[in-house]
């Protein structure tokens, strides 16, 4: 609870810093604040009590349990890595720095609501905070036509998804008589399957959430938006936001709609299969790095849907581990890619040509991130896939798991396209110079990926 309040406070502090002219100190202050918030969040792990606000018990709105604390922790970690990158990324627009950073912190607030909601009201508010802030950030490069396109496209599509979500919530409220997850769960278990209105309501909610996590066939916005947005915002969308939506999805399915599992799992099986196949196959033909990672994100959403399908055996640990490893690999990849884009002025895969000769260390780190995304041992991505697949098999989705394995073998091909470009091709003589902080972020991401790959006990099984 206090985690959320302090994060909001940090966002406000950012805005005040603009008035007080403290721009230079802003990023160190934010990082220190995030460290403090991480600690406050850790305290909640020890004593997870009811949420009290102004003397009133708010447990029917927000519930701080181990699930929420663990997800909050990796979200705060990801935010800290992203803010470390932001100083250099926004160095040309100091007049906007505090506004952008404040909005990015508000996205973190929304993500924290999504990990711990117990009421559909809070779910909607969380989704809207994250989405509206992202529409703004996607279009924040005002004079770049592609950024405008990204912001506008995301805004229009996202508004429709929000409307569908609200319609679903209304139908569920109409049939279950409550916004609160425990009451909805009780209703779903008792008479959910017999009530078509409840089923259609859940269908609409599931569709809206599938849109937000960019699962096929609701993925069409994702490549365009990822490509057009500023790279740092793309990184945030692909990591922090996606994981928080998955946490919300998991919480909704396990805490609210478990009673109609037989109904939702039919839909999710089809969507997961389509997402894995189409995400990986279309990624093969991409030559823009950001689009490639967008399709890679779509296919990863497909794997994570397997964890959502396996809610009966409490797959939250597997989802958590997968989310953490995916986040580390993607942030690591973008931390290398952003300086390369800046140096070469293009965002295609041939921007990486010859990087292995020019900057062996950068190329090596990007290779590690790509291998982790592809799921090659001993990196964390491999174990993440392993845990999720074994959960799926435990729940009897054998065919789907075989499909997932085949799809991830296809995936190895396009991750290697980047690696091959770095080592086998000759590039121009553009000089890639990442700052110290970028190098630090790369090293942290790859180091943690390796650490989790050989010692998964650090994160696996703590929920």
């Amino acid at each position: 609870m206090y985690t959320l309040i302090y994060t909001c406070g940090l966002g406000l502090l950012c805005l005040v810093a603009e008035i007080l002219n403290l721009r230079k100190l802003l990023i160190p202050v934010i990082l220190a604040g995030l460290a403090a918030i991480f600690f406050v969040n850790y305290m909640d792990w020890q004593m997870a009590g009811p949420v009290i606000l102004g003397g009133i018990d708010m447990s029917h709105m927000l519930q701080v349990d181990h699930f929420a604390v663990a997800f909050n922790a990796i979200l705060i970690g990801a935010a800290a890595l992203l803010f470390t990158l932001s100083g250099n990324f926004y160095k040309d627009e100091p007049q906007h720095l505090s506004d952008y950073l404040a909005i990015l912190i508000f996205i973190l607030c929304g993500a924290m609501v999504l990990t711990s909601f117990t009421s559909l009201v809070m779910l909607f508010l969380g989704i809207e905070i994250v989405s509206i802030s992202l529409y703004i950030m996607a279009g924040s490069r005002k004079f770049d036509i592609r950024s405008n396109e990204a912001g506008f496209k995301y805004f229009l599509m996202g508004s429709f998804a929000s409307a569908i979500l609200l319609f679903g919530i209304a139908l569920i409220y109409g049939s279950a008589g409550s916004f609160e997850l425990p009451k909805i769960a009780a209703y779903a278990a008792a008479s959910g399957m017999a009530n078509p209105m409840f089923l259609v309501g859940s269908l609409l909610m599931v569709v809206a959430l599938l849109f937000k996590v960019a699962a096929v066939p609701f993925h069409f916005w994702s490549p365009d938006v990822y490509e057009g947005s500023p790279s740092l915002v793309t990184t945030m969308m692909a990591t922090l936001v996606k994981i928080s939506f998955f946490a919300a999805f998991y919480k909704l399915m396990s805490g609210g709609l478990l009673g109609i599992d037989g109904y939702t799992s039919d839909i999710l099986v089809l969507v997961a299969a389509a997402t894995m196949i189409i995400g990986n196959l279309v990624a093969l033909t991409q030559d823009n790095f950001k689009r490639l990672l967008a399709y890679s994100g779509i296919s990863h959403a497909g794997y994570m849907l397997l964890a959502i399908l396996s809610i009966k055996t409490n797959s939250s640990s597997a989802l958590f581990f997968y989310g953490a490893s995916y986040m580390l690999a993607t942030i690591g990849a973008f931390a290398v890619a952003i300086p390369v884009f800046n140096a070469t002025g293009k965002e295609t895969i041939d921007a990486f040509d010859g990087l292995g000769r020019k900057k062996p260390m950068l190329a090596g780190l990007l290779t590690m991130s790509m291998l982790s995304l592809a799921g090659i041992p001993p990196l964390a991505g491999f174990l993440g896939k392993y845990y999720i697949f074994s959960e799926a098999i435990k729940n009897g989705y054998v065919v789907l798991t075989v499909l997932a394995v085949l799809a991830s073998i296809v995936g190895v091909y396009y991750y290697f396209k980047v690696i091959l470009a770095m080592y086998t091709k000759h590039g121009d003589e553009s000089d890639v110079r990442p700052t110290m902080l970028y190098t630090l972020v790369m090293l942290i991401c790859v180091g943690l990926s390796l650490l989790l790959g050989v010692w998964p006990g650090g994160l696996m099984g703590i929920i």
């Binding site: 708010m58 506004d99 009421s119």
Partner: protein, 165 residues
Amino acid sequence: MSQLLFFSLSILTILSALVVVFTRKPMYSVLSLIVCFFTIAGHYILLNAQFLAITHVIVYAGAIMVLFLFTVMLLNLNAESDQPKSGKLRIAAMVAAGMLFVTLVASIKSTTLGEFSLPPASDNGFVQHVGQRLFTDYLLPFEISSILFLSAMIGAVVLSKKEKH
């Protein structure tokens, strides 16, 4: 009496909503949308939700519709300038929307609603009661929504501020 009101309001709502969709001129769409919002506010009053009705009129029929009107006038959309959509797109949209419509109608028709314990009608919907709920049960969402508005406000300023290229 209230039944008569309900039916006449409903017919007006549906008719004006249809005009919004079917008319070719954006200005007519906007104007009939205003009628639609007012009739929905009438429904809220019938349900004893006076506060909701007033906010609905102020926010939707007032603020948002003025914004729509300005947009339509500023962009000069009143001319019938929309290109006809391609046939394939039309059919796909019709099939998708039709399927959703059939599903929704069928599901709502075959649903028997459970027992609801509504609060007594005299307590409902007045500012006092809405305020009480807002600052007790719904305190947290009320506070959190301020973050949403703040973020949207900063965004509006950032995106619309005039600056040199």
